[in-house]
C-alpha cells in the first residue's frame, strides 16, 4: 500500500494538483513514524505507511494549509472524523485541501509486542492477520489483533467520512464490534467513589504536564490555551499539588466534550501511560445516554451537544441525587 500511495502522491505533485503533502516518515526507530510535510515529489521518497502510522494528521492542517496551492493529506478512516470536526469549527478550509483516504486495518502498539516477551526487535512485517517479527534472537510471530493500539480496539470502522479519493480496499467493511468501547468507563462507574478517587489519584498524579496530550489532540487546538494565558487567571504554575493536574485534565476534557471524536491520540502519546481517553469517553458516554447518540465529526455541519439543548433535558440533580454506591 505504501508504494501505491507514494506513486499517487508523486503523480499529484507532478500534475500540480498539490503543492504540499502531509504524511509520515521514519522516526528514530522503525516503529515511531512521525508526521512529515513533503514539499515535492522527490521528498516523498522517505514516505512510509505501515503498522506504525497511528498519528492523526488532520490537526497539522491548521498550520500547514496555506492559501497558496492545495495541501494533500493522508487520512485513515478514524482521522476523517477529526478532519470533519475541524471543518465544522472553521479551523481548516476544505478548498485548500486534497484528501486521500487510505485504508487501515489497525495500528500496532510496540509496547504490547514487547510485553509478549519479544525483545531486540529489528523489523516487523505483516502476513495476513499475523505479524512476523525479526529480532536479534531470530524470527518471532504474534497475532496482530493481540497487539493493536488501545485506540484501535474500539475502531469506528473502515469507512472514510470525507475524502477526495480513496486508496483503500475495505471501505464497505462494517465496523468491528464497538460494544466494548465503554467497558472500562462502566467498570469505573461501578466502583465505589473511594475506589474511583484512588484510581484517578494514582493515574493523574503521574502527570508531568508535558502537554503532549494537548498538543496531539485535534480538538484541543486553541491558538492559545487558556492554561498558557497569563491573563486568564488560571495559567499553570509549577506542579505543586495533585489538584492542578485534575483541574487541567477535567477542563481539558470539558473543553473538548462534544467535540472529541474519540481518536485516542491523547492516551497513545502520554509518556506516563495515563488512560486519558477514559475521561473523554466518560463525557461521550454521558452525552450518548443523556442527550442521544452523538459522534463528533461524522459530518461537517453538526450542532454539538453542548451548544444545543432540549427543554426536557435531564436535571443536574439527576447526578447530585443519585444513590451513592
Amino acid at each position: 500500500m505504501q508504494e501505491v500511495i507514494k506513486k499517487r502522491v508523486k503523480e499529484l505533485f507532478d500534475n500540480n494538483t498539490i503543492v504540499r503533502a502531509i504524511g509520515w516518515e521514519n522516526g528514530e526507530f522503525f516503529y515511531d513514524h512521525t508526521p512529515a510535510v513533503f514539499d515535492s515529489a522527490a521528498d516523498m521518497d522517505v514516505f512510509v505507511y505501515d503498522n506504525f502510522c497511528a498519528s492523526n494528521l488532520s490537526k497539522y492542517l491548521i498550520n500547514h494549509c496555506a492559501p497558496e496551492g492545495k495541501t494533500l493529506v493522508l487520512l485513515k478512516p478514524c482521522d476523517t472524523y477529526s478532519f470533519n470536526q475541524l471543518l465544522t469549527e472553521h479551523r481548516i478550509n476544505k478548498d485548500n485541501i486534497y484528501i486521500i483516504g487510505i485504508g487501515c486495518d489497525g495500528m500496532v502498539d510496540i509496547d504490547k509486542i514487547r510485553a509478549l516477551g519479544i525483545k531486540g526487535i529489528t523489523k516487523i512485517t505483516q502476513n495476513g492477520d499475523e505479524l512476523v517479527i525479526d529480532t536479534m534472537y531470530g524470527e518471532k510471530k504474534c497475532k496482530k489483533a493481540d497487539v493493536l493500539l488501545e485506540k484501535c480496539l474500539s475502531c469506528k470502522g473502515k469507512k472514510h467520512m470525507i475524502y477526495d479519493e480513496l486508496i483503500s480496499e475495505n471501505e464497505d467493511e462494517m465496523p468491528q464490534d464497538a460494544s466494548k468501547r465503554f467497558d472500562l468507563v462502566n467498570e469505573l462507574e461501578n466502583m465505589t467513589s473511594e475506589e474511583r478517587f484512588a484510581f484517578w489519584q494514582n493515574e493523574l498524579s503521574k502527570c508531568i504536564r508535558c502537554n503532549a496530550c494537548r498538543n496531539i489532540c485535534p480538538a484541543c487546538s486553541c491558538r492559545k490555551c487558556v492554561f498558557d494565558n497569563s491573563a486568564s487567571g488560571v495559567a499553570s504554575k509549577a506542579n505543586a499539588d495533585s489538584f492542578e493536574e485534575k483541574m487541567f485534565h477535567i477542563i481539558r476534557a470539558f473543553h473538548v466534550a462534544g467535540r472529541c471524536t474519540d481518536c485516542g491520540e491523547c492516551t497513545r502519546v502520554c509518556p506516563q501511560g495515563i488512560p486519558l481517553h477514559l475521561l473523554n469517553r466518560k463525557f461521550i458516554k454521558d452525552i450518548n445516554t443523556l442527550y442521544g447518540e452523538y459522534q463528533a465529526g461524522e459530518t461537517a455541519d453538526q450542532r454539538g451537544p453542548l451548544t444545543d439543548y432540549t427543554q426536557q433535558d435531564v436535571e443536574p440533580t439527576f447526578i447530585s441525587d443519585k444513590e451513592v454506591k
Partner: protein
C-alpha cells in the same frame, strides 16, 4: 455520620441576576434564614458559570458549590439555563467519576418569587455539606492556611 462541630464549610453560591439573586433578596427581606456559610456571587445568568469557576472554588478550599438560575423555560435570556443545565450535568457527572463526592455540587432553579425555596435549598445544601465534611479530595492543600 460524624459531624465535626469545628467545621465551618465554605460554600459558594452562583446566583443569576434575574431570578435566583432576586430570590435570595426575597429570602432576605422575608427574614428566611440559612447558614452564613453560604456566600453568593452574582452572575448575569447561570450560563455565565464556567466549570473553571466551580473547580477554582474547590481548588481554593470551597466545600460546596451551588449554582442557581431561573427555572428552565423562564430564563431572562431565553435559553441560558438550558446550556447551563447540560454543562453542569456533565461536569458533575465527571466529578463523580473522578471520585469526588457528588453532594458537593448542585444546581437548583429558584425564581425571583421563591424566597422560601431559596432558603430551603440553601439549608438543605449546607446540611449536606456538613454531612460530607471538609473537602479534602479536591482542596488544594497549598491554599489552606
Amino acid at each position: 455520620m460524624q459531624v465535626n462541630s469545628e467545621f465551618k464549610p465554605k460554600i459558594v453560591a452562583f446566583c443569576c441576576n434575574w431570578c435566583s439573586y432576586a430570590g435570595a433578596d426575597l429570602a432576605g427581606s422575608s427574614r428566611l434564614s440559612y447558614p452564613a456559610d453560604v456566600k453568593i456571587i452574582k452572575v448575569p445568568c447561570s450560563c455565565r458559570v464556567n466549570p473553571l469557576f466551580v473547580l477554582r472554588a474547590f481548588e481554593k478550599g470551597a466545600d460546596g458549590v451551588i449554582i442557581c438560575g431561573c427555572h428552565p423555560g423562564d430564563c431572562h435570556y431565553s435559553t441560558g439555563n438550558y446550556y447551563a443545565r447540560r454543562r453542569m450535568t456533565l461536569l458533575f457527572s465527571m466529578l463523580d467519576y473522578l471520585g469526588i463526592e457528588k453532594g458537593r455540587t448542585r444546581v437548583e432553579w429558584v425564581s425571583a418569587a421563591e424566597g422560601v425555596k431559596f432558603s430551603t435549598v440553601m439549608n438543605n445544601f449546607v446540611s449536606k455539606i456538613y454531612q460530607l465534611g471538609e473537602n479534602v479530595k479536591l482542596g488544594d492543600l497549598r491554599c489552606r492556611k
